[in-house]
Amino acid sequence: MISAPSSSAHDPAKLALADGTVVRGRALGHRGLTGGELCFNTSMTGYQEITTDPSYRGQLMMMTQPHIGNYGASAEAMEARKPMIAGLIVRDSPRCHSNPQADESLEDFMRRHSLVGISGVDTRALVRHVRDRGVMNAVISSDPLDDETLVQKAQDWPSMAGLELASEVTVAEPYTFCEGPGPRIAVYDFGVKQNILRSFRRRGCTVKVMPQDTALGEVLAWEPDGLFFSNGPGDPRPMEAAIDRVGNAIDTGLPIFGICLGHQLMALAQGFEVYKMHVGHRGANHPVKNLDTGQVEVTTQNHGFAVDSASIAPEVARVTHLNLNDDTIEGLRFKTFAGLSLQYHPEASPGPHDSHYHFDAFLKLVARERGLTLPETTPSSATITV
């Protein structure tokens, strides 16, 4: 029903949705077949950060900005060691990029990392399609398969609901990311974005990254001053072991910070409920109101699940941040322990830097709880270095 032209200079490719929609375009990046949950991101910059964000594991990412690849790809834009999305869908992929600082083109980057993509499709029509019908699975293929087979493959692709994916993106072994004069932060890695780690580093912290299934005792043996539960892909609800571990961590009395999946796990550990959203929030322009200050932050978001506000026990936690577009929960401050959690991404990358202050807020909490003095650092994000 939705069709798009393709240039003879390129290999053809198809995008097939589980509801039977088939769209034609040109192959982008690696040739082959890939599948996942079809979602879209409205951020106008940062395609490479999005491509490498572990939270997007298993998803086919459709960018709403029509020209994707304009400034190529470079090492500094990596949020993980390799791309994490299952596939990339764009309206137009420019023949050449322009950026003296780039290492390679997006096309070369995708080929090098075997990332399958498709370009030349009417992304706006698909965004509206998904918006109205809800998220669904799809496949991208440059293999010459007929429409019916592709739709069947999309339908057979495992659903994201009930899917645990963090184990696929967590680190294999614990490692020290950085050492500094500040608090010791243990990071439970469910697919942590590099800029979260960098954000702690900028503030002088010593950061150790732990695989997501590390026993709590092992983490405590490292003598952390604070615990961090990272962002990550998939549905938090089936992650029973992780939820138990978060519950036990809370009992230690250590200050805890959670972002995105980490936030959802903390909520689940407190007996709150999490639900799958109709389309989710993915972009870099979502307004979030800080209910304590009345200030609004323009935030980076990437989540398909959210904490149900009705399930929050007021004696356990207080809503600190709300999404102004749909009033969904964006931040919690816990009353039963020294903890705070955010649904959105204060580390940005890509996206506005309005929310960097949360790292300072958490470290202040750590300092207070642990009787520490924070090192004098100037977080580079807060200053304009030119």
Binding site: P5, Q65, R95, S98, R124, L324, N325, P352, V386
Partner: protein, 942 residues
Amino acid sequence: MPKRTDLDTILLIGSGPIVIGQACEFDYSGSQSARALMDEGYRVVLVNSNPATIMTDPLMADEVYLRPLTPSSIAQIAREEEPDAVLPTMGGQTGLNVAQDLKEDGFWEEEGIEVIGVDIDTVQITEDRQEFRTLMDDIGLDQSRSNTAKSLLEAKEITQELGGVPVVIRPSYTLGGSGGGIVWNAEDFEEMVTRGLELSPAHQVLIDECLFGWKEYELELLRDPNDNVIIIASIENVTPMGVHTGDSVTVAPQQTLTDKQFQRMRDAAIKAMNSIGTFAGGCNIQFAFEPGTGRMIVIEINPRVSRSSALASKATGYPIAKVASKLAVGYTLDELPNEITGDTSACFEPSLDYVVTKIPRFNFDKFEGVDEELTTQMKAVGEVMSIGRTFNESLQKAWQSLEIGYAGLGADRADADPDTVRERLKTPHWDTLLHVRHAFRQGASVEEVHDITQIDPWFLYQIQDLVALEAEIRQTPLHEMDERGLRAAKRAGFSDEQIAYLVPGDTGDREVRAHRTAHDITPTYQVVDTCAGEFPAETPYYYSSYETVNESTVTDRDKVLILGSGPNRIGQGIEFDYSCVHGVKAAQEMGYEALMLNCNPETVSTDFDVADKLYFEPVFWERVQDVIDLEQPEGVILQLGGQTAIKLGERFEEDGIEIFGTSYSKMDLVEDRGKFTDILQTLEIPFPPYGVAHSVGEAVATADRLGYPTLIRPSYVLGGEGMRIAINRDEVATYVENILSIYPDNEILLDRFLQDAIELDVDTVCDGEEVWIAGIMQHIEPAGVHSGDSTAVLPPFELSADVLATVREHVRAIAFELGVVGLMNVQLIVRGETVYVIEANPRASRTVPFIAKAKGIPIPAIATKVMLGESLATFREAGALESDLSGYAIKEPVFSWDKFPEVPKELGPEMKSTGEAIAFVDSLDDEHFEQPYEMKDLYLSQ
């Protein structure tokens, strides 16, 4: 915080007459602001001296003062009206300056009037280059190296410290960068510095390190009383640094910065905006970026709604002026809804899933001897904006919008020769991108073109792609072109006319259209929704593209399509926007669904909540026809869109599309001098002796026959384009050669020039039954000065009753003979008791808004209803045609001479003014009359 309840009356200051650098974008912001404040229940008192604006319409504010924007006149109004607050940020630099003057006089404080929307104490910081530098240093933002000089000697020393020329000279406190520019060599240095020192009211100039080749960006910001700041749009200049942003081709959103670079810019912008005092409102910040080193510097901050705010509003759908006004009265961003989605918050940053291109429109042809090279001083008189799903689509649409005869970015005529192309690309010009295209056609590489032009290679690759596609089209005869190839061409913005030109064989655009529609290749319309499709949007604001889903649902209501007047230019500007807005409202009142089509972002008529549906499209035949094919309106209204819309009339008639009002064949009678003269002869109306010529020889012979001085001009032009008065054979030959080189196939009209005569402008509405003379204006200057450039008085001040009766008779006779239904403007000359008719225009004219304001009669609204079938009698009976003018209204032309120092300040039959002001006087012993009257013979060039 909700809105403030301690304010009752708010004084809103407009921007005055249109000049280069400050045009009708401020009518847009002022109108939006007035509407927003009235919606909130405030009493709005508005002052602006520009009668051509919508904002000065009685509907727009509780009290409208058409008064000069001087401190004394504002003070007088403020004393009468006793406002609680003044909002000076909607009226450009003019509005802000006058508010600042009154602040310095202590006026606002004395009267207890609060200045809102800006921190008036800190405005100076953004205007005084040195103070601005100090502030930016304090908050840690990098800047170009520079220093302020108060003398030529100081200037020399500073330039030496910067490493010599090239440097940029910028006089302090001038509008649109008047008197500024790059000095490339030592010879020009002294002259430029001296002129800059003279032009600056503070007699100081800033000498800047030359940033030629850096990329330039603009961010549009909003800040609320809670210090929440959001970025509404990022705009990237395709033209690199060195060209005034008003003269640059720009795109939104920015295309070539990485997220990390862009966020650095965003952080800097927020920091900068928060550093200029405490206020809530809009702000515009310009940056330069050096791609090699990643160095980014702040260029300029405008703590007010700017030219780019209008563009950013149209580009994103986010109503900046409206929201800025609400923030100024106390709202915070999170309290306001996004009006486009209706359902999400206004506190967000629009995401665009399309590319917007703005191209400035110039009028160099009006200024003989002008330097056409683009510099840091703005020269453009208008602009077009276009929206496409890709850069190339929007670029081609923008060229279709410019209305200079192009059907896209070239590919519709023979290319310029390589030498011309090479020469033209060396310095920035209005048609640089066209020559970039030529260069690629001629085999140049992206690297070569980049070296010469410094344009970011990303844009160059895009244009190279267009040329590659063009090459494919050239190889395939139309009937062999398949669906895929055609669609690819249409998706890249190629018009049917371009494709017809490119394909082998003799093919017309109609054939291309027929061929593509047979293949089901028709445009889809997408909504400008601020959110890239993330949320449903209900705003009826559309642009065309060749995508897969059409989002414009056609209703079953009766519809009328109103064509706008395209980009502003000298002779056709804001006046037609005024008429279009009234036309839309009138059509709605008559029960029609009003569809508006235009491509001028500086207009009120293209605000998303004016018409029932807005198509932001080129006023270009193909794009208009596409909309008609989709909407199937009952008819179109051409009379309100100036010459732009009228020019399309022939195709409407050929295609059997109903034109509301005067028929095309009748309109055409007026354009054809021979036919028009036949009519005048039939009606026994005198006209100056004239002749038609097609060559230099013919013209000289004709001039000899008519006698000298002779008025010479090309046929079918607007605003007296190319019009000259010749006093001998040599001059005739020179002028005609010149005209034929610009308009090769045009006829040349020669008139005997009547000396020492009085010129009149008459605007009239006819319903077929009766002719209503809406107004007669008498020019103070003698005939020969273009009507747009002359000072004119309403009603006439020294004509006998007999002459006036003759004038009316002539006008009536012409209107009936032509079967005018709607508007007509007639220009006449009176010598002695003889009344000659020199021209008739069966459409809205430049003077319609002036007369409407002076008399308090909504002329274009009445005319629109007449076109749609209402009779004048209805209005007459309702008393709607009665004037409330007592005394005289004087139209005063305003020029932008300071932008073209090399052009002689002469007036003639070619229009040169950019704007106008209105003055009401009780009697003629007033300086507004006496001064122009005394000087009336001074400027006429011979």
